[in-house]
């Protein structure tokens, strides 16, 4: 196992200070290790996640080589040559487990922002104290964007949040964590080969959730009530002005309707599986409130906005992978983790084999099946 830094590297170095896991502690399960603390319904801090992963490295006795940055993987005579900062390795098979969030994705028009505006990605952001006084424009309303918008607004920065398509979820539903419902109802177990539009499922932004001790929802109504100004998807920069889409109302509708369909799925499952007695009564949540008049443009030269935070998603980095296995958009081409290069496999990508693939408790089932493929491949070669 090659690790570019130290165990749990990205959790140590690429996370802001207040970040907590989205999954409740009782869902922190890896083969042979599960959460044993006193707060099963709470959410691990980034530091605690690092410790959890570090403990797993010990418990599993994984042969981790730390400080081993992979610089290239090439196929030579049916085998693979892996160049690392610690030297070259030859192998029959490769499992790519470098994740989907290696680089913050920032739109090209970021280059057109006036020089007086600071620009940060979630990798650069640590805490509100590191942000200069004045307004902050947070771009993107998935988990990262809503969490940073809430934290910055609380700290006294006037926050404007640019909202495109997003996934709205309540934190708690009928008295249970919404991720309990995802797991118990079987939604998380939906397999990649059962999903209608897999490309879309794999591109789905992370849900508007935060793991806070209060277990409260963090949707756009909550943010608007806290004083965050909502604007549409940021389309471009023209003459130093940010131009936002006028389609805000529809992205609200899409997310509200989608959430309602999911809650219907949960209710139907609770009914048929006989769980109505274990959970609270059916709930429905207020529609996302449409601002009376959302601004369509914002002058970035006026000084109103001191900082732009790009919470516009992440991309994987396969620069080191010298194999023809990427599509035109730089995504790895694979079928349930089986990559189209003999002996190459992948783990830990969105909906790799199931909806839960990128959650801590989702890796075990995927890993078993992918490793079955790998073992069969090796057996065929012998």
């Amino acid at each position: 196992m090659l690790e570019r830094g130290e165990v749990a590297n990205s959790w140590r170095r690429e996370r802001w200070e207040s970040l907590r896991l989205l999954t409740p502690n009782w869902q922190c399960r890896l083969p042979g290790l599960h959460y044993e603390g006193g707060d099963p319904d709470g959410y691990l801090t980034a530091g605690e996640v690092s410790e959890f992963i570090e403990r797993f490295a010990k418990v599993s006795a994984a042969p981790v080589r730390t400080g081993a940055q992979v610089t290239s993987v090439r196929r030579v005579d049916g085998r693979y040559h892996v160049m690392t900062s610690l030297g070259e390795i030859g192998c029959e098979t490769v499992v790519i487990a470098s994740g989907a969030c290696n680089r913050p994705a920032v739109p090209a028009f970021s280059a057109a922002l006036p020089p007086g505006v600071d620009q940060l990605t979630p990798f650069d952001y640590r805490n509100p104290a590191g942000i200069r006084d004045g307004g902050v424009l947070v771009v993107g309303a998935s988990a990262t964007g809503v969490q940073l918008a809430a934290e910055l607004q609380r700290s006294g920065h006037p926050v404007t949040l640019s909202v495109g398509e997003h996934v709205r979820l309540p934190r708690m539903y009928r008295g249970r964590d919404v991720l309990w419902w995802m797991e118990a109802s079987g939604v998380w177990d939906q397999r990649h080969d059962e999903i209608d539009d897999l490309t879309r499922a794999r591109r789905l932004p992370s849900p508007q959730l935060a793991g806070t001790p209060e277990r409260t929802a963090l949707d756009l109504n909550v943010l608007a009530s806290a004083g965050v100004e909502l604007v549409g998807r940021w389309a471009t920069v023209r003459d130093g002005c940010a131009l936002f889409s006028g389609g805000l109302r529809n992205v609200f509708s899409l997310a509200d309707l989608k959430m309602e369909r999911l809650l219907n799925t949960f209710d139907e499952w609770a009914e048929t599986a006989g769980h109505n007695a274990d959970v609270g009564p059916v709930e429905r949540f207020a529609a996302t409130r449409v601002p009376e008049s959302a601004r369509l443009q914002l002058d970035l030269r006026s000084g109103e906005i001191g900082t732009v935070v790009w919470a516009t998603g992440f991309r994987p980095d396969y620069e080191w992978l010298d194999l023809p296995v990427m599509d035109a958009k730089g995504q790895l081409i694979h079928d349930g983790g089986v990559v189209d290069s003999p002996g190459v496999f992948a783990l830990g990508l969105p909906v790799l084999r199931r909806r839960k693939s990128t959650f801590i408790c989702g890796i075990e089932d995927d890993a078993r099946e992918v490793i079955d493929h790998l073992a069969r491949y090796l057996a065929r070669r012998r």
Binding site: A235, G246, R261
Partner: protein, 182 residues
Amino acid sequence: MTTVTNGVNVQALIDAREVLKGAPEAAQFTWRASAKWNSGVHSTIKVHSFFGLGEEHNHKQESVFDADHPEVFAAEDNGITPIEYLIVGLASCLTAGVASVAENRGIQLRSVEATVEGAHDIRGILGADSDVRNGYNDIKVTFTIDADASRQEIEALVAQSQKRSAVFDALTNPTNVTVEVA
């Protein structure tokens, strides 16, 4: 599932999507219109040819439109105003979208009506107040749909139709426009 017949050949659209995924150059279309000034603010616009799938095409027949301004604008009202053509486009695009999405989702439509209202402060175009924009301030589309579906499913049709609408996108997002003298 019962057969749904809204008259949209969804299979052809799905097939086209699959083909064009691997051939982005064939997906590049150019739509054209040409206007000829008559007199006053009256012009006649013709639409006939377009380019797409790598070659030139013609509509079955040329369409001719008159654009003018109403008498309250001290014009002759030989046709609707240009800004009304925009909401003609929006209404027809969203309605086509509703039919297509319904077909794809197996929802039988019985009737679909859309009314569009665009709020326009004409002080902008008259130069009476430089803080007022020239175009619409707000556009409101109201759908009345009779279909074999729940209210929630109908709302989802309308939402998805906006999500995939060319004219909705063109109106809600900025577009580079180049105007030059030949």
